[in-house]
């Protein structure tokens, strides 16, 4: 089995999943299958696997609530959200609209009066009349975005850590090694994103200790080989457990999401 064959195996898996598009591409895979017994065996195994999925009773499951009842629940939630949300967003909109109206009035009425320009001064440059949004409103939005980004980051980080805790799949190097490639890669992506979070700002200051702990755990995961030793995973799991990191992430995510 060489690298090239690995690529064929991938195509065979996609063929079994009905995901090879184009007649020519399918014909190429078929030609390879005609001369490769190992690939034919893979195809049979992949098809058997997907046949099991196709028999999943969920594919024909009916929702446990009739449509009419679900519709009632959805509309009730829509009304409930409309009751709650607009009170704040209506206030914000009124505030923005008020600022805009005030700004327009200032421009129109010319108050406060500008110092009289000398008669020979050049005409003033045209000023865009876009309504101004107050600094406070901008700060409010920035704070909200910062908190949402931090919550999303923690949410995804916890998913990596939980998956690491549950990762059992042996990789080919031996019994004592497990496949952690996806999680190591995701940890690296998350660590890159961590530097974009505004952790020094007041908006997410309370999350700083949790973010630091999460960063340490992610660094451990990111440093693992794709085919890692179980022992290394156990160390990370102990770190997560010792610091009660998942519980902290859960609480902090809720706090950030308000």
């Amino acid at each position: 089995m060489n690298l090239l064959h690995g690529r064929w195996e991938r195509r065979v898996a996609l063929l079994a999943a009905g995901a090879v598009t184009g007649e020519a591409a399918r014909a190429r895979v078929q030609r390879h299958l005609d001369q490769c017994a190992a690939c034919r065996a893979h195809l049979v195994a992949f098809q058997a696997t997907l046949d099991v999925l196709a028999r999943d009773p969920i594919r024909t499951a009916e929702p446990p609530l009739p449509l009419s009842a679900l519709r009632t629940r959805v509309l009730a939630r829509v009304d409930e959200a409309a009751e709650r949300r607009p009170r704040s967003s209506r206030a914000v909109l009124a505030w923005v609209a008020g600022s805009a109206v005030a700004a327009a009035l200032v421009v129109a009425v010319g108050w406060p009066p500008a110092p009289r320009a000398p008669a020979d001064a050049p005409p003033p440059a045209a000023v865009a009349e876009a309504p101004e949004v107050s600094d406070e409103f901008v700060r409010h939005l920035e704070r909200r975005v910062a908190r949402e980004q931090a919550a999303r980051y923690l949410d995804e980080a916890s998913d990596v850590l939980v998956t690491v805790a549950a990762r059992p799949r042996r990789c080919r190097k031996g019994e004592e090694r497990v496949d952690i490639g996806d999680e190591a890669q995701r940890s690296r992506e998350l660590l890159a994103r961590r530097s974009l979070l505004d952790v020094d700002g007041a908006a997410v200051a309370s999350a700083r200790p949790v973010l630091d702990d999460v960063e340490e755990a992610l660094r451990e995961v990111a440093s693992l080989e794709a085919c890692a030793r179980k022992h290394d995973l156990q160390n990370i799991n102990r770190l997560v457990e010792r610091r009660r990191l998942l519980l902290k992430i859960d609480l902090m995510t809720r706090e950030l999401q308000g």
């Binding site: 969920i58 679900l70 042996r170 179980k230």
Partner: protein, 190 residues
């Protein structure tokens, strides 16, 4: 004459509740099955379907009229399901200490313990339980792609667009997922 999905979305953006009802009638079963495929819990899945249509109503004005409605709804649903699953998993694991280390033979049992029992009662099915265990063993991205492909029959291009991934990433994730599932569901996993 029956209104198209796009016409219904345009009406929904104007706050037309009848349009919401018509869209629900057309899509709620499909979304329920996709979400159930991901969560494997009928009650949680129903909650997610409910929230999917609430969000669809609230965000109808932002829907891009050039895009298809069904994948848009699916995207809302699957994102909700992913968030819900993460919360459930985090909550359960934060309530109980992690085992010392991962081991193949522990995995299914651990995830079976975490699985909500109503699912078992509702599906009451060995096959469903086997598939649930196998899917739970997949990383999030692979699991999502398998569900969209095999429970919603999305094309790989649609999956890529729905999840904001490249086509190559979708292909390699699907391939890896099928490998893992073969180990758990295929002959070797029996």
């Amino acid at each position: 004459m029956e209104r198209s999905d796009r016409e219904l979305m345009a009406a929904l953006a104007q706050g037309d509740r009848d349009a919401l009802s018509a869209l629900m009638e057309r899509h709620y079963r499909r979304i329920y099955r996709v979400v159930l495929g991901y969560l494997r819990d009928p009650d949680e899945a129903l909650d997610v379907v409910q929230e999917t249509f609430v969000k669809a109503f609230q965000n109808a004005a932002r829907w891009d009229a050039r895009s298809e409605v069904a994948p848009w709804l699916t995207r809302i649903g699957i994102n909700q399901a992913i968030d819900r699953y993460r919360r459930i998993r985090r909550r359960r694991l934060s309530e109980q200490p992690l085992a010392d280390g991962p081991a193949d033979h522990d995995h299914d049992r651990r995830w079976s313990d975490l699985a909500p029992s109503p699912e078992r009662q509702a599906l009451g099915h060995e096959l469903g339980a086997r598939i649930a265990g196998a899917l739970r063993g997949l990383p999030e991205r692979q699991r999502t792609i398998v569900v969209l492909r095999h429970y919603d029959e999305m094309t790989l291009d649609e999956i890529a667009e729905t999840l904001g991934l490249s086509l190559g990433t979708v292909k390699s994730s699907l391939h890896r997922a099928i490998h893992r599932l073969r180990d758990r569901l295929g002959e070797r996993g029996r």
